[in-house]
Symmetry: C2
Subunit: 494 residues, 2 copies
C-alpha cells in the first residue's frame, strides 16, 4: 500500500512541478500574448492533479496507512498531511468548488479594477460572494471553536483564532508604547544616505552576490525578475527566486533577495525524500516566513551585516563607497508608520497583520459585514498607526489575498516575524559570536544552524512542535518584543 501511495504522490508531484514551472514562467518570461493559452494549460494540469489528489485509490491508501505502525517519521508525517489535504478537498462538493473558482476569477478582475479606481464598491459584491464561499467551506471542513479556525488550518495547522487573539493582545500592548516612544522621543535616522539613482543592472548583480554569500545554490536555482518577488519550489534541485528593483532605492531589491533567499534556503535544505512525500512545503507558512524574515531582518537589517556589507555594496553601487556602515544600518531601520503593509518596517509591520486578522476573522465568523470594511479599516489604521488612508486603494484594497478567497493567510506573515525572533534568541545563545561572524562575512555557521535545526526536517514536524524542539517552548512573542525594544532603543538612542 505504501508503494501505491508513494507512486500516486510521485504522479501528483510531477503535475504540480509542471504547474510551478508554468506559473514561474508566467511571472518572469512569458510574453503578454501568451496569457490566454497559459491559463488553459494551467487549468488542465490542475484538473489532472485534482483528480489524482482526490482519487478513491489515494483515499484507500491513506486509510490503510493511518492504521499502520510500520511507518517512518517522514512517512507518518506525509500521511498526516496528505490525509488532511485529501479530506479537505473531498469535503467540498465539486459543483461548489467549481462555482468558487469562477468567483475567484471574477473576484480578482473586480478587485484589480476597484483598486485601479480606488473604489471599494466595485469589489464589494464579489467580496460578499467570496466571504460566503469561505464560510461555506469552513462548514464543510468542520471546526471546533470558530469557522475562521477551519480556514487557518492549511496555512498554520493547529493554530486557532483564540490562540492568535491571546498572542496579539499582549503583543499589541507591548508594541504600541514602543512605537510611541520612538516617534516622540527617538532620534530618527537620516535616510539621505539611501538617496540617489542606482542602476537596476548593478542592483541585480548585487542581489546575485548576496545570495551567493548566504549559500543559495545557483546549481539548484535561478534568480529572475518578476513584478512581485517570490520563491518557487519547482522540484527537488530546482528552487527559484524572483526579485524586483527600484532605481531610486538601493536596498529594496537587496532585502527582497535576502527575503526570498531565506525561503529558498529552506526549500534547498530539504531532502529529495521529503519532496517525494509531499513534505517540501515546510512546517507551516509561518515557519517558512520565519526563514525569510530571519535572513532579511534579523540578519540583513543588523549592524553586523552592514559593517560587513558596506564595502561590498560599494562594489556594485559606487555611492556606497564613502558611506558610514553605521549610518546605513540606521537608515535601513527607519521606523515610519505607513498605509502599505508591504512597505512597512519591522516595528509597524505586525500592526498591519493584526488589523487584517481582526477584520477577516470577524467577517468569517459573521461579526461584521463586508460593507463596513473600509471604515473599520481606516479607523483601525488611524487608531494604531496614526495614519489614515486617503482612499480605498491605499486602504482595504491594497492586498490581493481576499480577492482570491484566501482568508486565513495573513496571520502567517506575523507568525513568521515572531518565530524568527524566537529562533534567533536560540541561535544567539548557541553561537555567542554570531555578530562577529556576520561582520566578517561568515554566513556558513548561520546557515548550517538553520539547516540543522529547521530546514532538514521539511514538513515532518508541525510549527509549534518544531519550535519546542528547537527552543524548549511553543510560540512566545516576547522574544520579538525584546528584539524590537533592544534594537530600536539603540538605533533611536532612547
Amino acid at each position: 500500500m505504501l508503494d501505491t501511495y508513494r507512486s500516486i504522490l510521485a504522479e501528483i508531484g510531477k503535475l504540480s512541478s509542471a504547474q510551478s514551472l508554468l506559473g514561474w514562467d508566467q511571472q518572469t518570461h512569458m510574453p503578454t500574448q501568451g496569457s490566454a493559452a497559459r491559463a488553459d494549460v494551467l487549468g488542465k494540469l490542475a484538473r489532472l492533479e485534482f483528480e489524482l489528489a482526490t482519487s478513491d485509490e489515494l483515499g484507500r491508501c491513506i486509510e490503510d496507512l493511518e492504521r499502520s505502525s510500520d511507518l517512518t517519521d517522514e512517512e507518518a508525517a506525509s500521511v498526516r498531511d496528505i490525509g488532511r489535504k485529501y479530506r479537505r478537498q473531498k469535503a467540498i462538493p465539486p459543483d461548489v468548488f467549481e462555482a468558487f473558482t469562477v468567483a475567484q476569477s471574477k473576484g480578482q478582475a473586480s478587485w484589480a479594477a476597484a483598486r485601479a479606481n480606488a473604489d471599494f464598491n466595485r469589489f464589494r459584491p464579489n467580496l460578499v460572494e467570496l466571504v460566503d464561499f469561505a464560510r461555506q467551506f469552513a462548514d464543510y471542513y468542520g471546526y471546533e471553536d470558530t469557522p475562521y479556525d477551519a480556514l487557518l488550518e492549511p496555512f498554520e495547522p493547529g493554530m486557532t483564532s483564540r490562540r492568535l487573539t491571546e498572542i496579539i493582545g499582549p503583543l499589541k500592548a507591548d508594541l504600541v508604547p514602543i512605537l510611541k516612544r520612538l516617534q516622540i522621543d527617538g532620534a530618527s535616522p537620516d535616510i539621505s544616505v539611501l538617496e540617489g539613482d542606482f542602476p537596476i543592472e548593478r542592483q541585480r548583480e548585487m542581489s546575485r552576490h548576496v545570495l551567493e554569500l548566504i549559500g543559495y545554490d545557483f546549481e539548484s536555482g535561478a534568480l529572475d525578475d518578476a513584478p512581485h518577488p517570490f520563491t518557487t519550489e519547482i522540484a527537488f534541485g530546482d528552487v527559484r527566486i524572483t526579485n524586483r528593483y527600484e532605481a531610486n532605492d538601493p536596498v529594496s531589491g537587496l532585502f527582497g533577495a535576502l527575503h526570498e533567499g531565506g525561503h529558498a534556503l529552506y526549500g534547498q535544505g530539504m531532502t529529495e525524500s521529503q519532496y517525494r512525500l509531499g513534505l517540501s512545503d515546510g512546517a507551516s507558512f509561518g515557519i517558512h516566513e520565519s526563514q525569510s524574515r530571519l535572513v532579511e531582518n534579523q540578519i540583513g537589517h543588523s549592524r553586523a551585516f552592514w559593517q560587513f556589507f558596506q564595502p561590498r555594496a560599494a562594489q556594485f553601487l559606487p555611492q556606497f563607497a564613502g558611506a558610514d556602515p553605521e549610518a546605513l544600518y540606521r537608515a535601513v531601520n527607519l521606523v515610519s508608520p505607513s498605509m502599505i503593509r508591504v512597505e512597512a518596517d519591522e516595528v509597524t509591520y505586525n500592526f498591519h497583520i493584526m488589523l487584517r486578522f481582526e477584520l477577516e476573522s470577524a467577517l468569517i465568523n459573521g461579526e461584521i459585514r463586508v460593507e463596513d470594511l473600509p471604515s473599520l479599516w481606516n479607523d483601525a489604521m488611524t487608531r494604531t498607526l496614526g495614519v489614515t488612508p486617503d482612499n480605498d486603494a491605499e486602504g482595504v484594497l491594497q492586498d490581493v489575498h481576499w480577492s482570491m478567497g484566501a482568508f486565513g493567510y495573513f496571520p502567517s506573515y506575523m507568525l513568521g516575524n515572531l518565530y524568527a525572533a524566537q529562533l534567533m534568541a536560540v541561535l544567539r545563545a548557541d553561537r555567542p559570536d554570531l555578530d562577529s561572524e556576520i561582520a566578517a562575512g561568515q554566513f556558513e555557521p548561520l546557515v548550517a544552524w538553520l539547516r540543522d535545526k529547521v530546514h532538514r526536517f521539511g514538513g515532518i514536524y508541525r510549527a509549534e512542535d518544531l519550535m519546542r524542539r528547537i527552543s524548549g517552548e511553543g510560540l512566545n512573542a516576547q522574544h520579538f518584543v525584546a528584539y524590537i525594544v533592544g534594537k530600536y532603543s539603540d538605533i533611536y538612542r532612547l
Copy 2:
C-alpha cells in the same frame, strides 16, 4: 463528432504546450540540478499526451470525419494530418515503442561519449540498434517504394527517396563545378573585417534589434540564450527564440537570430484556429526551414541588407563603424568547404545534406552497414568537398540526429534552401524593388509577402502544393542554382 474531435485536440494541445515550455526552460533557465526531476515531469506529460493521441475516441472521430463532406479546408487538413499521426502512433506496438525510447536514451548517452572521445566504435552498437528500430518502424508504417520513404513522411509528407535522388543528381552536377570555379578562379573575400572581440551583451542587443526590424513580435515571443539556437511554439501568442553568441565572431549570433526569426515569423503568422487544429507546425519541416533560410541567407546575407545594416551594426559593435558595407557583404559570404555542417556556407551546405541522405537512406534500405559509415563518410567528404575529417568527432559523429533515432530529418535542411530560393524568385518578380526596400531598412513588404503567401496557411497545404500555389510549379532546384551562380560569380568576380 467535430466538437469531440476539437476538444480532444485542445486537450492534446495543452499537454503539448506544457511540454514545450518545460523543454524550452530546460535549455534556457533550468538549473543543472533540476534535470533529473524535469525528465520525470516531461515523461509524465508525454505519456498523458500519448494516451489521448492514441485513444479510441480520437480514432472514431478521425474515421467519422474522414467520411464527412462538411469540413472547411482547415478542418479537412487537420483530419488528414492528425489521422496520419494517429495511424503512425497506433502502428507501433507499445512494447516496441517503449524499447525504442530506451534505445534512444542509451543512444544519446553513448553518442555523447563517443563524440567526446572521437571514437565511433563506442556508438556503433547503439546505432545498429537504432537503425534496426527504424527499419522495423518503416515496416509497421508501410511504404510504396523504399523503407526510407516511411521515415521521410513525418518531416516531408509526400516526399520520397526517388524524388530526392532525382533532385540531388542534377543539383550536385551543377554545384560541383561552381564550387571548383570559386576555389580556383575566384577572388576570395577578405574576412579580417570580421575579426576582433565583440561583447556578448552588445551582440544580444543587436540580435534583439534585428528581430524587431524584421517584425518579430516580442509581445508574442521572447529571446533567450541557449547552447543551441531554436524556435519553439509554446502556444498561440507565445513563439520563442533562443540564440547563442561567440565573442570572437560578430555575425554568427546575428545570423542565428535571423534564422530563428524566420522560423518564428512563420509561427507567429499562423492563426489561433490553426493552433487549435494541430496545423501550427507548418506545411513541412522543409517549408519551415525555407522561412528561416530565406531570412538568414537570401535577406541577411544580401548586399542590400549590409548596405542598410552596417551603420546599425556599428551602434552595437563600434568596430563596424568604419567598415565598408561591401566588404562586410563579401566577408559574410566566404565560401569555405569545411568538415562541419552547421558551420557551412550557402554553397557547400547542401553537400553535407546530400552525404547524410545518401548514407542514411542506404542504411535504412539495407544497402550499407553501420560499421562502414566512418570510411564512407570520410571518402565522400574528400570526394565532394576536398576535406577529410581528422577523426570521427568532426566526421560521422558530428550530428545528434541519428543518436535520437531520427532518420529522414536531414533532407528537410536541404529542401529548406531550395524552397527558399524558389520563393525568393517569385518574391523578386512580385516586388522588383525588394533590394531597394531592404537597403532602406523596409522589411514590412517582405514580411507581408511571406505572411500572405506562406505563413497564414499554416499546415493547410502540403509542401509542394503550397509551392505550386505560390510559384506555379513544384519543387525546382534550378532556382537555387541560379541564385548561387549569380550571387557568387559576382562576389568572387568570375
